[in-house]
């Protein structure tokens, strides 16, 4: 349930990000092309049903992320998981100013945030913001793709489409960023042109206004600037409060996690890997996490989400007996038609006592191997397990 919800909300967000990036990629053609594409790719998301969906997905996904952080037993994780976690945590603070800025443009200042305005802002008025945008694009894209991949690569069609998906995965952000650069250059060129024209004009047209008019105009400008400044300060406040709330929630999650881990029984479990070392370990971590903590090769295609079953182990000896399989684990085991004594390393946490296990699947298994057990890779697989059982 939680898994599916996370997947669903993540998919919605990723689709939005993709559309947004594709829109930016039109910058490689021209700024006008971006504006045209905006009407089809970006504007619909601000309309009611879609905007609500987007909002809900964002909230749900954020909270689920914090929840999974809370559930983590160890923070030493595989490279992908680490990147996934850190990028997920970074997205909100980095993206807050952009979201608030767009929302404020529409609701407070009442103008349509076209790409021209935003790009001028990013490239000329606040280059730091532009830099931040690049970061956030990369981070959000990586986060989304890792999530998508660890789900999709277990599907039977994956190894047929993956070769076409990989280039797309790289192409979308790369094109978007190059579009960003190209459009940015266009904007910069426009601005420099405008400045030179103004300078030319300034020398000729200066004394046309009378003094009173000038004063009035200055006052009006000042008043407008004052109002703008207030609105700007207001949106800044909103942005910072979002960031602070997020930080607060994160701190709360970490605190709760610390308390949960503190509460765990302080006992030692002794694990013997067939064709591997013998390990003493504090209880409270899953077998897969233990393998990773000791740099033992252990297949896990779905990265410990209990989907693929490649981390399964044969329990040779367990005293006391391992806790019964949960719902997720049982589903996967049933699907794989595993006999008794086979467990998923990512789901099972050994209790205090002794345990002897044997890794069944070779660690270099690829998703393609999942569905072709009788082909050449399957031979290697059985060979590996034969090696394991020899030792």
């Amino acid at each position: 349930m939680v898994r599916n919800l996370r997947m669903l909300s993540g998919t919605v967000l990723l689709i939005f990000v993709t559309a947004h990036l594709l829109n930016m990629a039109f910058g490689l053609l021209s700024l006008e092309a971006v504006e045209t594409a905006r009407r089809f790719l970006t504007v619909p998301w601000s309309l009611l049903p879609l905007s609500l969906l987007l909002m809900a997905a964002m909230l749900v996904h954020g909270f689920l992320g914090l929840f999974s952080l809370y559930k983590r037993n160890t923070l030493r994780m595989s490279g992908y998981d680490r990147v996934q976690l850190i990028s997920g945590l970074l997205i909100i603070p980095l993206l807050a100013s952009h979201i608030v800025g767009i929302a404020a443009a529409k609701n407070l200042f009442g103008f349509d945030p076209t790409y021209r305005i935003i790009l001028t802002y990013f490239w000329l008025d606040a280059p730091l913001e532009g830099l931040r945008q690049v970061f956030v694009v990369v981070i959000a894209w990586i986060h989304g793709c890792i999530g998508m991949f660890s789900w999709m690569r277990l599907k039977i069609w994956w190894h047929r489409v993956s070769w076409f998906i990989y280039p797309l995965v790289v192409a979308v952000p790369v094109l978007a960023l190059l579009g960003f650069v190209e459009a940015g250059k266009e904007v910069i060129a426009e601005r420099t042109l405008a400045i030179t024209q103004q300078m030319d004009a300034g020398t000729g047209d200066a004394p046309q206004l009378s003094a009173a008019e000038e004063v009035a105009q200055q006052e009006a400008n000042a008043a407008a600037a004052e109002v703008n400044r207030e609105k700007l300060a207001f949106s800044k406040r909103i942005m910072w409060s979002i960031i602070f709330i997020f930080a607060f929630l994160l701190a709360l999650t970490l605190l709760a996690r610390a308390i949960r881990l503190r509460k765990a029984p302080d006992a030692i479990t002794f694990i013997r890997y067939m064709k591997g070392p013998e390990i003493n370990m504090h209880v409270g971590k899953s077998l897969l996490e233990i393998s990773r903590l000791h740099d033992l090769p252990h297949a896990n295609l779905c990265r410990g989400r209990g989907r693929c079953g490649t981390c399964r182990v044969r329990v040779i000896e367990a005293s006391p007996a391992l806790p019964a399989a949960g719902e997720i684990e049982q589903q996967t085991l049933d699907r794989l038609d595993c006999g008794p004594g086979i467990r998923l390393a990512c789901q099972v946490s050994p209790l205090a006592g002794t345990l002897a296990i044997e890794r069944i699947v070779p660690p270099d298994i690829t998703p393609a191997d999942l569905y072709s057990p009788n082909q050449s890779d399957g031979v290697a697989l059985t060979q590996w397990s034969a090696e394991v059982s020899d030792a």
């Binding site: 490239w123 000329l124 280059p127 730091l128 532009g130 830099l131 690049v134 970061f135 990369v138 993956s162 070769w163 990989y166 280039p167 995965v169 790289v170 952000p173 790369v174 960023l177 190059l178 960003f180 650069v181 940015g184 740099d295 090769p297 070779p362 660690p363 270099d364 690829t366």
Partner: protein
């Protein structure tokens, strides 16, 4: 003993190299070929052209006496000496001027340093002002954005590459190879995959950068930032590949994980700091190029260099206790070394820094290169020992992989190059690993010696690999030195100056000696190994095929040595400028004369070698040459000594051997036949022969010599008065006589026991008349019959001799 000799040899060769280098370093004429135009080369050039006319000479003299021309020449020569970086264009004026010029340069540099030290507090503001004048904050931020985007493009492409190759890489890393060949292949494939990723990254990042147009300073800045990232990644990838800090099975150097991990971290840190330092200095030099912030830029680059050196020293002293802890057997030598090396490297780094600060670039590079030659050689030797140790272990189980050994030597060869191409700090770092390598390996080698009696086939290439490594390192160091002094080995030896030629001669001699040494070590160890593996035949055993190698190899070794010595001597002579053509011609004429005179002798020797190569006979074999037959007793270089079985000895020159029959190879077939009367039961004979065959085979003296035991071939032919029964057996050469003897004896006994008689010649004379014959008639009839029998059967041939 051997080791100490080897060390001595190393030191001697290194001393040679050092002397050679010093020569180039100190002699400006040798170093700067460009300046040869001004100086001693000029007369040589003039000498070749036709002599100038008296008018020209007068004109030249007039010009030379003109004060303005003299001034111009002077200023020109000084400016050109300032142009050339090291200022060695003082070639024409010699060593003293050169030295004073250098001192002047150093003095100027020191005063610059003093100025920038005084202005140090103002440096940040200077730099900031210069920066502001070049680009605004916005522009800076924008450049960073660009860099970031290019890096994203690069990493995106690399990620794509990885997705397509990850499966291969994982397979390589997870499946542990057991054979040496497998390991080597896996390492090469892994390197290709890993460096391919890096390459794709660089192409992606640099390619996008290059496809945009940039204003000058932004160009420099962005390029430098990109280069920082790429070079740090290069260093880290190389270090990762060699050290494999986490996975022991993939590690290519003989280090434990406890050393490899911090070492890798240090390499990455040092590479980062060094590249950032270099890039910063470059950026600020570019920035200050036109302004008066020169001093600030100088201060920054000096600071960067100092920080890098400091970190390097910290790294050395941080690694030392770790290595000392990990050394397994802390022997006396080890202890001394572990105290010596860090100090040595520290001093080296400090010297390099000091020389770098006073801008004596060539001296700095010289110090670094010479200082690192020894540690590099030792490290590489350690690596080679490690690789051979590994391969010894892996090759013990599967035998018969001999093809990959040269390749292995090459793998170890690539190590020094790779190490040198990493940033300089990491190179200096690696020697710190020595005590560990040294301590582990000798122990291992001793163990090996104990349980492997015969020299392993891989062991043969060990000294060769070590020599080759040393050779490559020394040559590489020489070339590096030359290039750092702006010289070129080729142009150097062509230059006409005395020292230039001396340098050329020494380089030639050195190269020739090193190559000859390499070849000699390889050949000698190969020959010695073969000889060591040869066990002379014990007692009466037949010698194996190695026996001829035992004859040939010492000959080959001597020949090779003479050949190498002659070649080296000729090379040395020719590089010393002595014309060797008459020598060679003389030697050729002499050779022809001797060849004609000793034609028969030469023919004997050469055909002897070919007979040996053909393996036509071995010592102890029974051969037949023309009419002569006997057992081969000994061979000399010219002739063969054969003993007849009756005791006579034949000495046959090899040249006389046109064809040769060898009776002692593999097997012989012996056919026996005997005659029985027509009424004999052939089946019974077959049975008896079979029984006797079994009996013969069970005999413990000659039984093992029987390859196919006695068997009956049935009636071979019918004759007038009897039938001929054939039997045969197959035996090892030499055993057949005894078997034949016993077979005949047993057959006779068995026939007698079962009532079979051998056929006897009898002639039935039919007398037509019924009369009783008288004695005289009977006698005459018998005589006639006897004649008839003899004429029919003919005289029986003599049985072949038995040795």
């Amino acid at each position: 003993m051997l080791d100490s000799r080897r060390r001595l040899a190393t030191i001697l060769t290194a001393a040679l190299v050092a002397g050679f280098i010093a020569l180039i370093g100190l002699n400006p004429a040798g170093a700067q070929s460009a300046t040869d135009l001004l100086a001693p080369d000029a007369p040589a050039v003039l000498a070749e052209s036709p002599p100038p006319s008296p008018n020209d000479i007068r004109e030249l003299l007039r010009l030379l006496s003109d004060q303005s021309v003299i001034d111009w020449l002077k200023s020109e020569s000084t400016s050109s000496s300032a142009d050339t970086l090291d200022g060695t264009s003082a070639a024409s004026v010699g060593f003293q001027q050169e030295f004073s010029h250098r001192v002047d340069l150093t003095r100027a540099r020191l005063s610059e340093l003093a100025v920038s030290w005084q202005n140090l507090p103002a440096t940040p503001s200077f730099v900031a002002a210069a920066w502001q004048s070049q680009m605004s904050v916005d522009q800076t931020l924008r450049s960073i954005t660009y860099v970031l985007i290019f890096l994203v493009v690069g990493s995106g492409l690399e990620w794509l590459y990885r997705q397509y190759t990850q499966h291969l890489l994982l397979g390589l890393e997870m499946r542990r190879q057991t054979t040496l060949w497998g390991k080597f292949q896996a390492a090469v494939k892994r390197a290709l995959l890993i460096f391919g990723g890096l390459f794709v990254f660089s192409i992606g990042a640099m390619g996008t950068f290059l496809s945009f147009d940039w204003p000058g300073f932004v160009d420099n800045l962005v390029l430098n930032l990109l280069l920082i990232v790429i070079s740090v990644r290069c260093a880290s990838t190389i270090s990762m590949f060699l050290l494999a800090p986490r996975v022991t099975a993939l590690r290519l150097v003989p280090l434990s994980g406890d050393i490899a991990r911090p070492l890798h971290n240090w390499i990455v840190v040092l590479a980062t700091v060094a590249t950032i330092g270099m890039a910063t200095s470059d950026i600020f030099l570019h920035l200050a190029g036109s302004t008066d912030a020169m001093g600030a830029a100088l201060a920054i680059s000096v600071c960067a260099a100092a920080i890098t050196t400091l970190l390097l020293i910290v790294a050395i002293w941080h690694m030392t206790p770790i290595i000392r802890r990990n050394a397994k057997t802390p022997t006396e030598v080890n202890k001394r070394q572990s105290h010596f090396w860090p100090g040595y490297l520290t001093i080296l780094a400090l010297m390099a820094l000091a020389l770098g600060i006073i801008n004596a670039r060539e001296l700095m590079e010289t110090v670094i290169i010479i200082g690192l030659v020894f540690p590099t050689i030792r490290v590489v030797n350690g690596c080679i020992d490690h690789l051979f140790f590994l391969s010894e272990h892996s090759s013990r189980k599967p035998i018969g992989q001999s093809e990959e050994k040269p390749l292995l030597a090459e793998t170890s060869e690539t190590l020094p190059n790779v190490q040198q191409s990493v940033a300089e700090p990491s190179e200096a770092e690696i020697p710190a690993t020595l005590p560990d390598a040294e301590s582990q390996l000798p122990v291992v080698a001793e163990e090996d010696m104990d349980d492997v009696e015969q020299v392993s086939s891989l062991e043969l290439y060990h000294p060769v690999a070590r020599r080759l490594a040393r050779f490559v390192i020394l040559i590489g160091a020489t070339f590096l030195l030359l290039s750092s002094w702006g010289g070129n080995l080729l142009s150097l030896s062509e230059s006409q100056t005395y020292s230039g030629r001396l340098v050329g001669i020494i380089a030639d001699v050195l190269t020739a000696v090193l190559i000859a040494d390499l070849v000699w070590v390889w050949a000698k160890s190969a020959i010695d190994r073969r000889l060591a593996n040869y066990v002379p035949p014990q007692g009466s055993d037949a010698p194996g095929p190695e026996a001829r190698m035992a004859t040939l190899l010492p000959l080959l070794r001597v020949t090779l040595m003479v050949f190498l010595i002659v070649i080296v001597a000729l090379t040395v002579l020719s590089s010393m400028g002595i014309n060797i053509a008459p020598l060679i011609a003389g030697a050729g004429v002499l050779g022809i004369a001797i060849g004609f005179g000793a034609q028969a002798l030469v023919k004997d020797i050469v055909s002897g070698i070919f007979f040996l190569i053909d393996d036509a006979f071995r010592i102890g074999e029974y051969i037949e040459v023309g009419d002569l037959r006997g057992t081969v007793e000994s061979m000399s270089i010219r002739s063969l000594r054969v003993r007849h079985h009756l005791g006579a000895i034949h000495t046959i020159p090899f040249g006389e051997l046109s064809s040769l029959t060898n009776y002692s190879r593999d097997w012989v077939i012996m056919r026996l036949e005997f005659r029985v009367p027509f009424d004999t039961d052939v089946k019974l004979i077959k049975k008896i022969v079979k029984k006797i065959g079994a009996e013969l085979q069970e005999n413990e003296v000659y039984g093992p010599g029987i390859l196919q035991t006695l068997k009956s071939q049935g009636v071979r032919r019918m004759e007038e008065f009897n039938m001929v029964i054939g039997v045969k057996f197959m035996a090892k050469p030499g055993a057949q006589w005894l078997i034949r003897r016993d077979a005949y004896q047993k057959l006779r006994d068995a026939f007698e026991a079962s009532g079979i008689s051998f056929a006897q010649r009898n002639v039935t004379v039919e007398v037509v008349s019924d009369k009783e014959l008288d004695a005289a008639t009977k006698k005459s009839i018998a005589g006639a019959a006897q004649q008839a029998v003899e004429s029919a059967a003919g005289v029986p041939a003599a049985a072949p001799d038995e040795p």
